[in-house]
Point group: C2
């Protein structure tokens, strides 16, 4: 009998010994009626105090692993050996349809992704080098000195009140009339969209959106089992007559739109179109879910107003905001601004989902936003990404034989190359150290096989130049091959 236990840390020695012996019993290495070493022997063997061993033996007996016979010693009991279930569960038999769909639609698992060695055109995460870590430190220490222990205890489902108030002012500065509107803080856009869909849709409900659209949003709509109808886009946003047709065909539960730096195309819906879209959807009394994605990154001075602002005398816009494309996405903070009556329901769903979003993070973000550095940061980020955008366009023009490029800025552009399959292209590019996002995953109807999204937030000029040069060569080769066939 070997007690070759190696302690893995200085704490919990007692527990480690107990666990070790239990395992020996459960796996049958120590057999029924076998005698354990005396407490004295064991304490010498393991170099721990005898009292520790006495405690361990007592517990083992209390839990039925051993029997202690006075004057004789401690013996293995059979009571405590749990029979293995006939065979281990085959979890595949237990997995819900929802889980199977979630796994299937999990692009992070199934798509080729950028790694350290790969030029990450697939990423539209903000560039972390822009984050001002010293400012965050100060904000953290400030908030701890203001809020103390409070900030670590349970908070409110709706969110951290000062942050909510800040965001209300922030939204009203964007031209939104806040009367009868309220804000719920969520764990990013993703949770906001999930909660909104949970609150106003049932399985099978019809929803309209742009085609293509944000792939995570598409995934979420699919996981809510919605009947999704994607509507083609013009160069200045969703096609109005198609939208009208679809509204007339069957009134949907909601229309989901990404008006600014649309994902994946990068299109900014024109002011004129925004007005038309609102008039049209209003006339059907349908809720509009607006993804405020990247609104903060508008480079140009002309301040194109959000649908929520343009339509703010009506109560049918649900605006989902997020700063994750510029600030601290790791904290996962977003917000939903909507009619007070609706927010009341969203709040209850939020509470049932995860009680509330981290109060510590909300407080840090609030402290950051109310400081002077936020507007400076946004300016810096705008400059930075504008420069990246221009470089991306410049080298695309130089190296990529594209049929069309969409996108006016933000963190990505969308490219169509006639006659190639973007998955075939990706597979070749990946071998040469380049990742991007094939366009088909953004489409509601399996279109876009000759398109792809190029994110430029995390690449430098050299990577853009080199990446596009290689991509251009690969595209030429693929086209030549096609011509041969």
């Amino acid at each position: 009998m070997i007690f070759n236990l190696k302690f893995t840390s200085k704490t919990h020695k007692k527990l480690q010994i107990e666990t070790y012996i239990k395992n020996l019993i459960e796996t049958g290495i120590l057999q029924k009626n076998e005698k354990l070493p005396s407490t004295r022997e064991m304490s010498l063997m393991l170099n721990v105090s005898r009292n520790t061993i006495i405690d361990v033996y007592e517990n083992l007996t209390n839990e039925g692993f051993t029997d202690t016979i006075k004057g004789k010693g401690t013996f293995i009991s059979s009571k405590k050996v749990i029979s293995k279930i006939s065979k281990n569960l085959n979890w595949n038999n237990f997995i819900s349809a929802h889980a199977i769909m979630a796994e299937k639609l999990d692009t992070t698992k199934h798509e080729l992704r950028g790694t350290y060695d790969i030029i990450p055109f697939d990423s539209i995460s903000p560039n972390k080098s822009l984050f001002d870590i010293d400012e965050i430190k100060r904000d953290f220490l400030n908030i701890i000195s203001i809020e103390g222990n409070n900030i670590l205890n349970y908070g409110y489902a709706k969110g951290y009140k000062p942050l909510i108030e800040y965001l209300k002012t922030y939204m009203s500065h964007k031209g939104i009339n806040l009367d009868n509107k309220d804000i719920l803080i969520t764990n990013g856009f993703t949770e906001g969209f999930n909660i909104v869909l949970s609150s106003i849709t049932e399985k099978g409900d019809r929803i309209l959106c742009e085609n293509p659209t944000h792939n995570t949003s598409l995934k979420i709509m699919k996981l809510h089992n919605l009947n999704i109808k994607g509507i083609d886009m013009d160069d200045d946003g969703i096609n109005i007559s198609s939208l009208k047709n679809e509204l007339e065909k069957e009134v949907p539960k909601a229309v989901f739109l990404i008006p600014t730096y649309h994902n994946p195309t990068g299109i900014v819906m024109s002011s004129e179109k925004r007005l038309k879209v609102i008039e049209l959807i209003n006339s059907f009394n349908v809720p509009i879910i607006e993804d405020g994605f990247n609104e903060e990154l508008r480079y140009s001075n002309s301040n194109i107003t959000s649908l929520a602002a343009l339509n703010s005398n009506n109560n049918n816009v649900i605006y989902i905001g997020s700063l994750s494309k510029i600030l601290f996405p790791g904290m996962r903070i977003g917000w939903v601004m909507a009619d007070t009556e609706l927010i009341n329901y969203l709040e209850s769903i939020k509470r049932s989902t995860n009680i509330h979003t981290s109060f510590l993070d909300q407080a840090i973000l609030y402290e950051y936003l109310r400081g002077k550095n936020f507007s400076k940061y946004v300016k810096k980020a705008k400059r930075y990404y504008k420069n990246k955008y221009e470089l991306t366009i410049k080298y695309a023009n130089k190296y990529l034989p594209y049929a069309k490029i969409w996108g006016e800025g933000g963190l990505h552009i969308f490219i169509k190359v006639t006659g190639i399959n973007s998955r075939e292209l990706l597979s070749e590019c990946y071998k040469k150290g380049i990742a991007f996002t094939p366009g088909d995953i953004f489409y509601t109807d399996n279109q876009g096989k000759d398109t792809f999204r190029i994110g430029f937030s995390r690449v430098n000029e050299a990577q853009i130049r080199m990446g596009f040069q290689i991509m251009g060569e690969i595209i030429s080769n693929l086209k030549n091959k096609l011509e041969y066939i």
Copy 2:
């Protein structure tokens, strides 16, 4: 025409002016064809630079709010006045069954709750005075210096790797065999339970649990539209023969159990019963969902082992852990430990739900846990709550004419007073400044009307004594009234 705009902050002046004028137009205060003051006049009126006003007027014209006629000035256009939809949406017509249920089951909204003036026997939040805020500061600064900006960017759905590794070791020290098991980090127990149910149940599926059980868990099971069967409890945990009957009647999708300091009763399931429960459920090849709630708070030295540990050679236990009842619940961090195959699905659902749990919080918690203070803190918390428990029992014995008290420690006890309705009692107590939780919300079958839960985590000795004295008097009065009738 009055331009009495008051700037609300030093930034965004341009936007504030623009918004203000837009509102005047949209609300009809500025009428069609009306002329705006010249840029010079306006800049004097508002005391801002003329260039700012020129920008504003340009934007207004670009967006169709005004027409600029060269040499004449800027005039209100009617193009941009969004027509109000016939009437505002009545959101009640749009709310899903799920949202209605979530709102209805939202006890925070509908139950009487402790406030600053009220003795909060309804709370089982940890006492924030125990938190070591200086330690958290150090942990934060450490983690920032180690991780830098990384910690603010997107992370992994499964969680922060060092925290996962820490928790694996932590669980293995609790006697769990980690072979073929994995961990997913969640936003607390609530999210963990939601994701687990999403992954293995469909609408209408049968699930067994203790009766009474944790009211948030009960709410979540209802929101998943499960067919819930509660099983009565003995003084040492769930009744085995009832459990057997229900398993035989129809095999459920899962059994949900809270073996340690069960909520609401405070019962710790005995070692013997744990073994029997596992043997029984294993024999039906059914998953066990174990709520590790309060396991860390076991006062006594005897280390009662979790179901996950006792059954760790099988793969059917899904253990949901949380430190929220002792540490920093405001951060919302919990974890699910289960078979690797199942965690793979849970991870995809987590990603579709909110991408991941805050990496900053996970890193701070990791830094805290790996430090020396965690075990000291747990000892301190155990002592503190043990003392509170003993005081609660002492004064209950002195003042409350109870029929039965359950609970061995943790953060709460459960009380039955024959012949009273606990909601009537609550309503009287609330008038005198006392809140507690009526027992019926914990029951799967509307029982427990003469029971209530007393949380003692946030009350001091004086509050316990005074609170129970008053409650005792009110109970006597209610009983006298009953006898009269």
